[in-house]
C-alpha cells in the first residue's frame, strides 16, 4: 500500500474510533468544516456532521472543561488544543481537575477523554508556538501521555487513547505532520507503555520520542557508517506509562545511554528516565549518561537560531561519540 502522511493519519485514527463508537465526539477551534489549522481533522465534519464535530470559540478552558464534564457523563470527547503551548491556557484542567478527580472522589468518576495537540518546533513559529511541552504533562500524575513518531503509530496510539478509560494527552508533532510512512493496518491498536525498538544495536542505546525518533535514527545511520558504532534506538511512544523496563533491557546489552528529547533539559522527561536508570540500572552503565535536549532558552524564530537550541543529528552524533570514546 502507498505510504500515508502523519497528518492524514491523525484524522484517520480519529475517524476509525468515531465509526466504532458513537460516544466519540470532537471539539476544538476550527476543527469542523475548516478541517483544523493543521488539516488533521479533514473529513471528520463531512463524515460525522455537526453533532459529532464541534467548532468552539477561543476558550481553551471551556473546551477542556466541557470535555471533562462530557467524559464524566458517558461521552468520549476528543478535544483539540491547537498548539500545545496553549495548554497553558487551560492548565488547571490538565493539572488539577482531570487527573485528580477520579482519585479524590475515591474512584467515583472516570474521565475517558483525549486532549490532542500539535507539539514541538522546527517550523520557525517562535517562542509561543513551538514548544515541546510533553514534560509539562509529565509533572502531573494521573495523565497518560502519548507522542507518536510514525503514521501507523498515530493511528494505533489514537485507538488506545480513545478507548482508554483514563485521560490521555496526545501530542502530534508539527514537524512530523508532512512525514510519510506505511499506513496502519485495519484495527490497528498500539498499546500504551510499550516502547518500540526501532533499530537494533549493541553499542549504545538512544532513547527517543516523537520528533527525536527520526533524528536518532539518522544519527544512528551516520554513526554506523562513519564510526562503526551500532546504536539501538528506542521509541518510547508513551511517556506514561513509561517503559523503563525496555530501556533497562537495552542497557543490559549496550551499557551506554543517550536520551534524545526535544523539551528543555531543565525539567525535561529525560531526567525522569535517567534517574530510574541511575538507580535501578546503575550497574549496567559503563559510561556517563548524556541527554541531548532542548537548550534552556525560549525558542527563537529564525531557523538557524532554532537549530542552535533544539536537538539535531549533529548533537546526537557528538553525544554518542563522547561516550563511545569514553
Amino acid at each position: 500500500m502507498a505510504d500515508v502522511t502523519y497528518r492524514d493519519s491523525v484524522a484517520e485514527g480519529i475517524a476509525r474510533e468515531m465509526r466504532r463508537d458513537p460516544a466519540v465526539v470532537c471539539l476544538g477551534e476550527d476543527i469542523g468544516a475548516a478541517g483544523g489549522v493543521f488539516k488533521t481533522t479533514v473529513g471528520l465534519f463531512e463524515e460525522f456532521g455537526p453533532e459529532r464535530v464541534w467548532d468552539t470559540p477561543i476558550s481553551e478552558q471551556a473546551i477542556v472543561g466541557a470535555a471533562m464534564g462530557a467524559a464524566m457523563t458517558g461521552m468520549r470527547p476528543v478535544a483539540e488544543i491547537m498548539f500545545s503551548d496553549f495548554l497553558a491556557c487551560c492548565w488547571d484542567y490538565l493539572a488539577n481537575e482531570i487527573p485528580k478527580v477520579r482519585y479524590m472522589t475515591g474512584g467515583q468518576v472516570t474521565v475517558p477523554l483525549v486532549v490532542r495537540t500539535a507539539n514541538g518546533g522546527g517550523l520557525g513559529f517562535g517562542a509561543q508556538h513551538s514548544q515541546a511541552v510533553e514534560n509539562w504533562a509529565l509533572t502531573v500524575p494521573g495523565l497518560k501521555i502519548a507522542a507518536p513518531s510514525t503514521p501507523a503509530d498515530v493511528v494505533g496510539l489514537m485507538a488506545s487513547a480513545v478507548r482508554s478509560d483514563d485521560p490521555v494527552v496526545f501530542f502530534e508533532h508539527k514537524g512530523l505532520l508532512a512525514s510519510k510512512g506505511a499506513p496502519a493496518p485495519d484495527d490497528h491498536v498500539v498499546p500504551f507503555g510499550e516502547a518500540a525498538v526501532v533499530r537494533e544495536g549493541g553499542d549504545v542505546t538512544l532513547v527517543a520520542l516523537a520528533s527525536t525518533v527520526p533524528l536518532a535514527l539518522t544519527a544512528a545511520e551516520r554513526l554506523a557508517a562513519d564510526d562503526g558504532v551500532a546504536a539501538e534506538v528506542l521509541d518510547l511512544r508513551t511517556l506514561i506509562p513509561l517503559d523503563v523496563a525496555a530501556v533497562l533491557r537495552s542497557l543490559e546489552r549496550t551499557s551506554r545511554l543517550v536520551v534524545v528529547e526535544e523539551n528543555p533539559y531543565q525539567g525535561g522527561w529525560g531526567g525522569t528516565v535517567v534517574s530510574v536508570v541511575a538507580d535501578e540500572g546503575f550497574e549496567l552503565l559503563d559510561a556517563p549518561v548524556r541527554r541531548v535536549a532542548g537548550a534552556n532558552v525560549p525558542l527563537p524564530f529564525a531557523d538557524a537560531l532554532e537549530d542552535q537550541v533544539i536537538p539535531t543529528v549533529d548533537k546526537v552524533v557528538d553525544a554518542v561519540r563522547s561516550l563511545t570514546t569514553y
Binding site: 465526539v25 466541557a66 475515591g106
Partner: protein
C-alpha cells in the same frame, strides 16, 4: 398541588435543611476539637439554595459544586455519616478519606463533585449538559458557585459556550457578598456579579432570595423547564449569607457590626418554618422534623467517630480506571 401536599413537601425540605445545618455545626465542633483536619468551608446559611435547587430537579440531573459543598452533597443524597466520616478521615468516608471537605462527591446520584479551584467546575457543568444533549436525554446540569467566582476567566468561557450551544445548564450563584474576607462589591465591576453579567451572553437571569427555599425551588424549576425545552442556559443569583467565617477558624471580623444578626433574622430555617406555619403545619410537626434531623446527625457523628481510620492502601488506588496507580513498567 393541594396546600397539604405542598406543606408535606416543604416539611421534607425543611428537614433536609435542618440536617445540613446540624451537620455543619457538627463539622465545626469536630474541627475545633481537632477531629476534623485540613480545612472546612461551612455552608450554614446557604441551605435553601442547595435544597431548593434539588427539589426542582429530577433524578439523573447533574450537579457540580465548590469547596463549600456540604449542603449540595447532602441535598443530593449523601448521608451526614458519609460526609462526617470523610471529614474525619475515616475509611467509610464519602470519598474514602481521599477527598476531604472540599471534594465531597455523590456521583451515584448525579452530584459529580466539589471542586476547590474557583470557577473550574462551570465548564464541566457545560460539558455535562452538552453530553445530555448528545445522548438525547432531557437531563440538565447545574453549577453552584460563589459571587467571587464570577471574576475568573472560566466563568466567562463557560457562559459564552453554553449560550452559543444553547445547552441545558443552570448557573446558580450563591451570592453571600464575600469573596473570603473581601466584600464582593470592592472587586467586582457589576452590582450583581452573576445576574449582571448574563445579558452580555444573551442569557436570561434572575436575582432571587436565596434564603427562601420555595423561591429558589420555583426559580430553578423555571430555569430547568427552559433548559429542557431547548431554550438554553439561565443565570440565577441567589442572595444568601454564610453564618460562619470563610473557612476553618476564620472569625469573620471583617463583617460590619449587625450584619450577621440581620441575616440571621432571615435564616433559611426561620423562613421555611414561617412558611410551614402559614401553610398550616403545626409547631409540633416542625419540631419533630428538626428533632429527626438532629437525631440523624448525632448518630452520624457517633458512627463516624467509631469508624476505622483511612485504609493506608487506598493511597495507591483509584488513579487509573483499572483501580491502580502504575505509571511505569
Amino acid at each position: 398541588m393541594t396546600d397539604a401536599t405542598a406543606a408535606t413537601g416543604l416539611l421534607a425540605l425543611h428537614e433536609t435543611m435542618a440536617v445540613i445545618r446540624r451537620t455543619e455545626k457538627a463539622a465545626h465542633d469536630l474541627f475545633m476539637s481537632g477531629l476534623v483536619k485540613g480545612t472546612t468551608h461551612l455552608a450554614a446559611g446557604h441551605e435553601a439554595v442547595a435544597v431548593g435547587a434539588r427539589a426542582a430537579l429530577r433524578d439523573g440531573d447533574y450537579a457540580f459544586a465548590t469547596y463549600r459543598g456540604h449542603h449540595h452533597a447532602i441535598a443530593w443524597g449523601a448521608t451526614p455519616e458519609e460526609c462526617l466520616a470523610e471529614l474525619m478521615q475515616r475509611s467509610t468516608g464519602l470519598n474514602k478519606a481521599k477527598g476531604g471537605s472540599m471534594h465531597l462527591t455523590k456521583a451515584g446520584s448525579g452530584m459529580l463533585g466539589s471542586y476547590a479551584i474557583v470557577g473550574a467546575h462551570l465548564p464541566m457543568a457545560v460539558g455535562a449538559a452538552w453530553s445530555a444533549r448528545l445522548r438525547g436525554t432531557d437531563q440538565v446540569a447545574v453549577a453552584f458557585f460563589g459571587d467571587g467566582a464570577t471574576n475568573i476567566g472560566a466563568f466567562h468561557e463557560a457562559l459564552n459556550l453554553a449560550a452559543v450551544w444553547r445547552l441545558p445548564v443552570l448557573f446558580v450563584c450563591e451570592n453571600n457578598f464575600y469573596m473570603e474576607y473581601t466584600p464582593i462589591g470592592s472587586v467586582t465591576a457589576a452590582e450583581h456579579p452573576a445576574a449582571g453579567r448574563a445579558p452580555s451572553y444573551g442569557l436570561p437571569a434572575e436575582v432571587v432570595d436565596g434564603n427562601d427555599v420555595v423561591t429558589v425551588r420555583d426559580a430553578v424549576a423555571r430555569a430547568a423547564q427552559r433548559a429542557r425545552a431547548g431554550d438554553g442556559p439561565t443565570v440565577l443569583e441567589a442572595h444568601t449569607y454564610r453564618h460562619y467565617g470563610h473557612s476553618r477558624t476564620d472569625p469573620a471580623k471583617y463583617r460590619p457590626d449587625g450584619e450577621l444578626e440581620r441575616w440571621l433574622e432571615r435564616d433559611p430555617l426561620t423562613v421555611s418554618a414561617q412558611r410551614l406555619r402559614e401553610a398550616g403545619t403545626s409547631d409540633d410537626d416542625i419540631k419533630a422534623a428538626e428533632d429527626r434531623a438532629a437525631g440523624v446527625v448525632d448518630e452520624a457523628v457517633a458512627a463516624a467517630r467509631a469508624a476505622p481510620e483511612a485504609d493506608l492502601s487506598e493511597a495507591f488506588t483509584d488513579v487509573w480506571a483499572d483501580g491502580g496507580a502504575a505509571w511505569r513498567t
